[in-house]
């Protein structure tokens, strides 16, 4: 039975490592700005998830307690990875596209990254 537990933990570690290195390699391999977003935000997050699962399994099988910290880190990473990806995609649109090069935004007049606030106050707002 102990061999089976060790096999599970080792499998999680190897899967996590492979996903991590694929994510980091994709960041330098892919040659389009937007497709470069895919590798780190998906594959690397999965890699960290694999390592955290291995750590949880180790605590549960060999040290006989259930660890909650890993769940917190996993939840936090899986919540924040899409938000950072969305922000970085908006930075790409903001710096490399004009309102003419983007598709029609529909019922909004203009894409949100190009929209200027209406009553903008210049300078520090006290």
């Amino acid at each position: 039975m102990e061999f089976f537990f060790e096999l599970i933990i080792a499998a999680f570690l190897v899967i996590g490592g492979i996903f991590g290195i694929v994510g980091s390699f994709g960041l330098i391999k892919l040659n389009d700005r937007m497709s470069r977003l895919h590798a780190p935000t998906k594959a690397t997050t999965l890699g960290v998830g694999g390592v955290l699962l291995a750590s949880m399994a180790h605590a549960a099988f060999f040290e006989t307690y259930v660890s909650i910290h890993e769940l917190m880190i996993t939840l936090f990473l899986f919540l924040t990875a899409p938000i950072t990806a969305n922000f970085i995609a908006k930075v790409h649109i903001h710096r490399h596209d004009t309102p003419d090069s983007l598709p029609e935004p529909g019922e909004d007049k203009i894409w949100a990254t190009h929209k200027k606030p209406e009553n903008e106050v210049i300078g520090p707002q006290v």
């Binding site: 060790e6 096999l7 933990i9 080792a10 499998a11 570690l13 190897v14 996590g16 490592g17 492979i18 991590g20 290195i21 994510g23 980091s24 390699f25 960041l27 330098i28 700005r33 470069r36 977003l37 780190p40 690397t44 997050t45 890699g47 960290v48 390592v51 955290l52 291995a54 750590s55 180790h58 040290e63 660890s67 910290h69 890993e70 917190m72 880190i73 936090f76 990473l77 924040t80 938000i83 950072t84 922000f87 970085i88 908006k90 930075v91 790409h92 903001h94 710096r95 490399h96 990254t113």
Partner: protein, 89 residues
């Protein structure tokens, strides 16, 4: 068996960190640099958790949690600064 798998994972994430550093240095655009820095944060979290697993210590999870929060906040602040020229409006 766990030792071998842990060493494999250590090597994978360390190589990933080196590749991210390479991307930070050679990126042609500021958004790529933000993305590479964010990936460096995630790889650092994985390395910290692996180190805690290898030492059998519980204290590294707090460090990993703090790094996760700092990574998210700094990435969003940097992207926000480029988008709006201002972090808190």
């Amino acid at each position: 068996m766990i030792e071998t798998a842990a060493i494999f994972a250590f090597v994978c994430f360390a190589l990933g960190l080196v590749m991210n550093l390479w991307k930070v240095v050679t990126a042609e655009d500021v958004a790529d640099r933000i993305l590479a820095l964010d990936t460096m944060f995630i790889n650092a979290i994985a390395l910290l958790v692996l180190y805690g697993l290898a030492l059998g210590s519980d204290i590294f999870f707090e460090a990993a949690m703090i790094i996760a929060m700092l990574g998210f906040v700094s990435t969003v602040a940097y992207a926000r600064f480029i988008l709006r020229g201002n972090i808190i409006e």
